[in-house]
C-alpha cells in the first residue's frame, strides 16, 4: 500500500490531521483526524512499510502492551479511516 500524492500530515493542537494539497484537493476537500498512533502508522507507510504484516510488526514493536489481535483490529480501523488517501 502507498499514500497518494498530495496527501500530507500536519500537526494540529494535540493531534494530527491529513489534508490535501495541489491536484489532490480537487478529489478530496475534507480532512482526516489522526491521533498519535495513527500518525505513527502514517509515517510507517510513508517510510515504505507496504503490507499489513509489516505495519502490525511495527505496532507491536512500538507499543509494549499491545497484543496481535488488538493490533490487527486497530490497523483495520486506521486503514479504513485513511482509505481515501491510499492508492488502490
Amino acid at each position: 500500500m502507498k499514500i497518494k500524492e498530495g496527501y500530507i500530515i500536519k500537526k494540529l493542537g494535540a493531534g494530527y490531521v491529513v489534508v490535501t494539497v495541489g491536484q489532490a484537493s480537487k478529489d478530496f476537500n475534507g480532512m482526516i483526524r489522526l491521533n498519535t498512533p495513527g500518525a505513527f502508522l502514517w509515517q510507517c507507510i510513508q517510510d515504505g512499510m507496504d503490507t499489513r504484516e509489516k505495519l502490525t510488526e511495527a505496532m507491536l514493536k512500538r507499543y509494549d502492551d499491545l497484543n496481535e489481535a488488538t493490533a490487527a483490529e486497530d490497523l483495520n480501523e486506521f486503514l479504513d479511516s485513511i482509505k481515501v488517501a491510499l492508492e488502490d
Binding site: 500530507i8 500536519k10 500537526k11 494540529l12 493542537g13 494535540a14 493531534g15 490531521v17 489534508v19 490535501t20 494539497v21 484537493s25 476537500n29 475534507g30 480532512m31 483526524r33
Partner: protein, 239 residues
C-alpha cells in the same frame, strides 16, 4: 493602481474599476512605498467570478473586489497571516472572534455585543478580517472587505478567544478541541475559488493559532442573552 496598507502590509492593487479604490479609501497609502504583495485581476477572472453566482451580481467593480481579496488572502500565509471568515470585536484592547456558517447569526451576535457593551466594543471587521502573527501574538486586523453591514475599523488587537457560533434552545459556552474547530471552519480559512493558497504553511499557522488562542463553542438563543452569557464568561462587564 492603488496601494493600501492592511495588517501591516503594503499591498499594491492594479485595479480596473473605481469600486476597489473607493472601498479601500481609508487604507490608501503612499504609492511610492515598496509593496509586499501585488495583485492584478484580469477581465476573464472578473467574468468567471460573476458566472459563479450571477444572482449576487453587484457590478463588475464589486466582482473585481472579490477576486482582489481572494488573491490577497492567498498571498498572506507567507507573511504569517490569513483571512478567516468571521466577525471580530475588540473589548478593552483584546479581540474576540465569532465564526460560523453564513446565516448562523454572526452579525446578529455582533450586534448584541454592541447592544450590551455600547462604546466599550469596537467591531474590527464584521466578515473577513486578516489575522497575523506578530511577536508571538495573533492580531486581528481591520480590512476594507467587511460584509454587508460595513462594519470595520482600521485597528488591530490580539485575539483572546475564537468562538464557534451555533444556534440552540439554551445558551452555553465551553471549550472545544482544535479538530472540531478546523472540521467546521476549514473552508473559511481562505476564500473559495482561488485554490492557490500554500496549504502546508496555512496549516502551520492554524496549529500555531490553536496553541495560543482558546477555541469555544458558543451556543446561542436568538436573543441578546447569548451575548450577555459570553460577556460574563469572559469577564468583560467590569472595567
Amino acid at each position: 493602481m492603488i496601494q493600501i496598507e492592511a495588517a501591516g502590509l503594503v499591498i499594491r492593487i492594479e485595479n480596473r474599476y473605481d469600486y476597489v479604490k473607493n472601498l479601500c479609501r481609508e487604507y490608501l497609502t503612499d504609492e511610492n512605498r515598496t509593496p509586499d504583495i501585488t495583485v492584478a485581476v484580469t477581465e476573464e477572472e472578473i467574468r468567471k467570478e460573476i458566472e459563479k453566482a450571477p444572482e449576487c451580481f453587484f457590478g463588475d467593480g464589486y466582482a473585481e473586489g472579490v477576486v482582489v481579496y481572494e488573491k490577497i488572502s492567498n498571498a498572506l500565509p507567507k507573511y504569517d497571516a490569513f483571512v478567516m471568515h468571521s466577525s471580530v470585536v475588540a473589548v478593552n484592547g483584546e479581540a474576540y472572534c465569532f465564526a460560523a456558517e453564513s446565516g448562523t447569526g454572526k452579525s446578529t451576535h455582533t450586534r448584541y455585543w454592541k447592544e450590551v457593551l455600547g462604546d466599550k466594543v469596537t467591531v474590527i471587521n464584521g466578515d473577513k478580517p486578516i489575522y497575523r502573527f506578530q511577536n508571538d501574538q495573533l492580531l486581528a486586523y481591520g480590512t476594507p472587505w467587511c460584509g454587508k453591514e460595513n462594519w470595520q475599523t482600521k485597528t488591530s488587537a490580539p485575539l483572546k478567544a475564537l468562538c464557534l457560533l451555533e444556534r440552540g434552545e439554551e445558551n452555553a459556552i465551553y471549550p472545544v478541541d482544535a479538530f472540531e474547530m478546523l472540521a467546521e471552519l476549514s473552508h473559511h480559512f481562505h476564500l473559495p475559488g482561488g485554490g492557490q493558497v500554500d496549504m502546508p504553511k496555512l496549516m502551520d499557522l492554524i496549529d500555531r493559532m490553536v496553541t495560543i488562542v482558546p477555541v469555544y463553542r458558543l451556543r446561542c438563543r436568538n436573543d441578546v442573552s447569548a451575548a450577555q452569557e459570553a460577556i460574563r464568561y469572559f469577564n468583560l462587564e467590569e472595567e
